[in-house]
């Protein structure tokens, strides 16, 4: 019985408060349970590794070495620590010494070599695996990955087709989506990734694997300029696998595009604290610069330069991140051209062609760059960066109409595709008599 209106009011407020508290509590519980599940998964992995090591010390066994190799791969993917891939390679080779016809070990070794960028070795191992067991969808998957990375898209399509026809799951659908994104089949790519995530959850795959697919989906949304979905998916990835550095980075990228620079910087900083990848430091430097924190921006650029030196010391051949960084920031033109060319000899994918084009353009050779950027855009991939590069190259060649079309397309796809360079795109478009999207003009103050 409600005695007075005042009582009714207090009761209403109390009810609302209770509801809010319940929601908060439920959310926190979900987050805690997610973090607990992830931590449990990490602990289980470490425990399993230790257990297998102990058994193998007593009794060498091909199958167990293969399983240890598998666990090392998982650990490597979790931490981003390449040394686990090297351990995995040793374990798998040991397995194959004991049992040379173990198809799964060949397939896993193919994946490890692919991760270490030994594409020739990876293709060879994948083919051996297929020869030994033609019903293994993952072997076709790894072969397709190698073909995708080296720009042999038709072959990759064939391999992926075989893979999916044998088995459709988290790993196969997420792989296929990568090819579809490049071929500009965006709707299909997103459908496949969603399917991959659903299958992964249903099959209770390791959280890191599911989070990886979610992060890929967030990236695809970002490429399409769909920031709300990109943000939601990145958050979902962090729910699945808390502190996942790739998810933190894509979320940081989304926040930067939304103009939420402080949040972006914080997310990138967190990602770098976990694994200081040059791509993270590069974007964080740009975000800092946009915030006017020039000292911090310089620190990040110095970090990228430092990593570049380490890569040189370690004789790292594949340096696409650094090539992009140099070209984006107008640095070390000739060196970037040489690095991009060295990589392109082996990796002739569209992003390899783009790196060639963008570095040649920066080095003052737009004429040679044109063929490469046309090659990079041969599938009309929906990627604002590619169109921005094409626009700038054509502008340098005096192809003003084509340049304007490309720059408009870049800014239409994603008005904030990259901190700092989006402004360059907008300013160049204005100079060509074009009009940047109103969303961009409001956010960055560039006026036609």
């Amino acid at each position: 019985v409600i005695a007075t209106p005042r009582s009714a009011f207090f009761l209403l407020i109390a009810t609302l408060l209770a509801v809010v508290l319940m929601i908060c509590s439920a959310a926190q519980t979900a987050e805690t349970s997610s973090a607990t599940a992830s931590a449990a998964s990490v602990e289980k992995l470490d425990r399993d590794i230790t257990l297998l090591q102990k058994i193998l010390k007593r009794r060498p066994d091909a199958e167990l070495y293969y399983r240890l190799g598998d666990l090392y791969i998982q650990k490597g993917r979790q931490t981003g620590d390449i040394s686990y891939f090297q351990l995995s390679e040793s374990a798998l080779r040991q397995s194959l010494t004991l049992e040379p016809r173990l198809a799964q070990a060949h397939r896993h070794l193919a994946f490890v070599l692919y991760s270490l960028h030994d594409f020739t070795g990876a293709a060879s191992e994948a083919k051996t695996s297929i020869k030994l067991d033609s019903s293994d969808s993952y072997a076709y998957g790894v072969l397709g990955d190698v073909q995708l990375e080296t720009g042999r898209y038709e072959c990759a399509a064939g391999s992926y087709s075989q893979m999916v026809s044998i088995r459709g799951d988290l790993y196969s659908y997420s792989r296929l989506s990568g090819l579809e994104t490049i071929r500009n089949h965006n709707a299909r790519a997103i459908t496949d990734l969603k399917r991959a995530i659903a299958d992964g959850l249903a099959a209770s795959e390791p959280p890191e694997g599911i989070a990886w697919a979610q992060e890929r989906l967030a990236e695809d949304y970002f490429l399409l300029g769909d920031m709300p979905d990109a943000e939601a998916t990145a958050q979902a990835a962090l729910q699945t696998y808390p502190n996942y550095h790739r998810a933190l980075a894509i979320l940081g990228q989304v926040k930067a595009a939304q103009g939420r620079l402080k949040e972006s910087a914080s997310l990138y900083k967190h990602a770098i604290a976990i694994i200081p990848l040059p791509e993270y430091a590069s974007v964080l430097g740009d975000v800092y610069q946009r915030m006017g924190r020039n000292g911090d921006a310089q620190n990040m650029r110095d970090l990228v330069a430092f990593i570049a030196r380490l890569n040189a010391l370690n004789r790292v051949v594949y340096n696409r991140t650094l090539v992009d960084y140099y070209a984006d920031h107008d640095l070390h033109h000739r060196n970037a051209v040489v690095m991009a060319a060295a990589e392109y000899r082996v990796r002739r994918d569209i992003y390899g062609a783009d790196a060639r084009a963008w570095t040649l353009y920066r080095n003052g050779d737009a004429a040679h760059a044109l063929a490469y950027i046309n090659s990079a855009l041969r599938f009309h991939t929906t990627d604002a960066r590619l169109y921005f590069h094409a626009g700038m190259i054509k502008l340098a060649l005096g192809h003003k109409r084509a340049a304007r079309t490309d720059l408009e397309r870049a800014l239409k796809i994603n008005p904030h595709f990259q901190p700092l360079l989006d402004e360059v795109a907008a300013q160049s478009l204005v100079a060509l008599g074009g009009k940047p999207p109103s969303e961009y003009a409001q956010a960055s103050g560039v006026t036609p």
């Binding site: 200081p276 970090l303 330069a305 030196r309 060196n335 051209v337």
Partner: protein
């Protein structure tokens, strides 16, 4: 990029050039942060020996963020270590029977062992203690390390008991796997531990009874203050570059440092393919006297020292515009052209002279006065030199394909000069009496050859110069380079003198024949020309001047 950072980069780069293929990363990877907690339970306190070992990248970040100078005992480290001690303690959760304990620092240490390419890594060690009144039964310790969450690396916790304590159960081992992060056993079946938490139960034993940990054979004896050591699997170092980091400055140390630098310079001259030595041998062995040998050594020393200084300065102050590693291709181009030119000149001279291989001594003398580099008489040692060419050539060309290292190319050039010199060392004394007396040697040609021999600086010397600048020990660095060059020159002079005095002895073993006198010298000079051209083209490709296809 600030001045100091630039110096560090350049020094690292030069180190890589100096020791190709030997630059090794931190054993746990360039970006790892490695943890070690040694929990030691005593009757009235718990001690944590806590060590953090940062690889190159986190060290770089820490240096940039804090502004410290990576040098042991630097003034900037005191406040940094205090701050780090506080922050790290905040990240350590130590509980006894559920009650969180406050950790106090007893002592600490910090060192900067060199990692990849001599770049610094950072290792900090602390001894933390917490007073812990324990009951007679049922004591439980919960320990968790929350520092640097999620960061990859070696994460190890061990637990041991001091006398009077018995550990009943423990989730961690008492065995120290990494010797306090000084060695990382990362073989196939020993992947890095990932332990960041430990639980143990313990009880006091009868007073005075010595007890050890439940598992393993860890010593329960109280341990002394932290004493950090560089990683056993660390980057192979060069003694010369280590000298620069030594803090001593007394006379004895300077004397020892000078001797070491000079010795290393001498050894450097003796390294395979080091053509400076053989340039001297060539000249002195062919025409010179002891006086010329000494003079040539002095010229090489001077030109080498100056070239180190000049290249160091250029590398430092033009790194905004020139990527430092791009400098070496140019030196490669220079070397290649020099070799090709030398080879071509020899080829032409021999081609012309082969028409009259057995001309008179008078004729030889006349020709020789026209051109000191012209050698018409090749004997049995040419044959052996040619065989040597083939063996060496295959190996080194492979190296060039494997590594685009400019230093190797420079040495190839010098090796070629060296080979060429062997093919002439014993050819002249008999037919050119003026060479024995040394009358044919002009100071101008000797000076030119000396400068050529020393102008391509040894990257090792450059590393020392840049490293010295980076840690503000400029004078010491300059001094060491002079000592290094003197050592190098001593060997050159020694070689020259040996050639002068051995000339008569060697000349006894000559044989003659059309192959050794005509075709082998011609082929030898053709090979030199081709290899010189190859080096030049490879350097042009490396420099990006020539594009190798799309």
């Amino acid at each position: 990029m600030n001045f100091r950072t630039r110096l560090t980069f350049v020094a690292a780069l030069m180190m890589a050039l100096a020791f190709p293929g030997r630059a090794a990363a931190h054993p746990m990877g360039n970006f790892s942060i490695n943890h070690y907690s040694g929990v030691q339970v005593a009757r009235d306190q718990i001690e944590i020996r806590y060590i953090i070992d940062m690889a190159e990248i986190p060290t770089f970040q820490a240096i940039r963020e804090s502004g410290i100078v990576p040098r042991v005992a630097d003034a900037s480290l005191s406040s940094y270590m205090s701050r780090e001690s506080r922050l790290l303690r905040e990240g350590l959760d130590l509980r006894i029977n559920g009650r969180r304990l406050t950790l106090q620092e007893l002592d600490h240490q910090i060192i900067f062992p060199p990692g990849a390419g001599g770049l610094p890594t950072m290792k900090m060690g602390f001894r933390f203690i917490a007073k812990a009144p324990i009951s007679t039964i049922g004591n439980k310790i919960d320990y968790r390390d929350d520092n640097f969450p999620e960061h990859a690396g070696w994460k190890e916790i061990i637990a041991v008991a001091q006398p009077g304590i018995e550990i009943a159960t423990s989730s961690v081992s008492a065995q120290d796997r990494s010797a306090e992060l000084s060695t990382y056993p990362t073989d196939l079946l020993n992947s890095p531990p990932q332990t960041l938490a430990a639980q143990l139960t313990f009880r006091p034993t009868v007073a005075g009874t010595r007890s050890t940990a439940m598992t393993g054979g860890g010593s329960g004896a109280p341990r002394p203050a932290v004493a950090l050591h560089a990683n056993v699997q660390g980057t192979p170092r060069n003694a010369f570059t280590q000298l620069i980091e030594t803090q001593r400055s007394d006379v004895l140390f300077l004397l020892i440092a000078t001797l070491i630098a000079a010795t290393l310079g001498g050894f450097h001259a003796l390294e395979p393919g080091h053509g400076k030595t053989l340039v001297a041998a060539y000249l002195v062995g062919s025409h010179g006297t002891a006086r010329h040998a000494v003079l040539l050594g002095a010229v090489v020393t001077g030109s080498h020292t100056i070239s180190v200084y000049v290249l160091g300065i250029i590398t430092l102050y033009t790194s905004q515009w020139i990527v430092p590693e791009r400098l070496y291709p140019w030196l490669g181009i220079f070397s290649g052209l020099l070799v090709a030119g030398l080879g071509f000149t020899l080829f032409m001279q021999r081609f012309v002279s082969k028409k009259a291989p057995n001309s008179s001594a008078g004729q030889h003398q006349r020709e020789h006065t026209h051109d000191r580099g012209s050698h018409k008489h090749i004997h049995e040692n040419d044959s052996s030199a040619f065989v040597h060419h083939h063996t060496w050539w295959g190996g080194h060309l492979n190296d060039v394909h494997a590594y685009s290292d400019r230093k190797s190319q420079g040495h190839e050039h010098e090796e070629l000069i060296h080979m060429h010199s062997y093919s002439h060392v014993d050819g002249h004394p008999r037919h050119h009496p003026e060479a024995i007396t040394g009358k044919g040697i002009s100071l101008k040609s000797l000076f030119a050859l000396g400068v050529t021999g020393g102008i391509v600086p040894c990257p090792a010397a450059l590393v020392v110069l840049l490293g010295a600048l980076a840690i503000h020990r400029v004078a010491f660095g300059l001094f060491l380079i002079v000592a290094f060059s003197i050592g190098l020159a001593s060997v050159l002079i020694g070689f020259g003198l040996a050639m002068v005095y051995a000339r008569r002895l060697v000349s006894r073993f000559r044989t003659r024949g059309p192959l050794t006198e005509r075709w082998l010298p011609l082929a030898s000079s053709a090979v030199i020309t081709v290899i010189g051209a190859t080096i030049t083209i490879q350097s042009l490709i490396s420099a990006g001047i020539i594009r190798a296809g799309l």
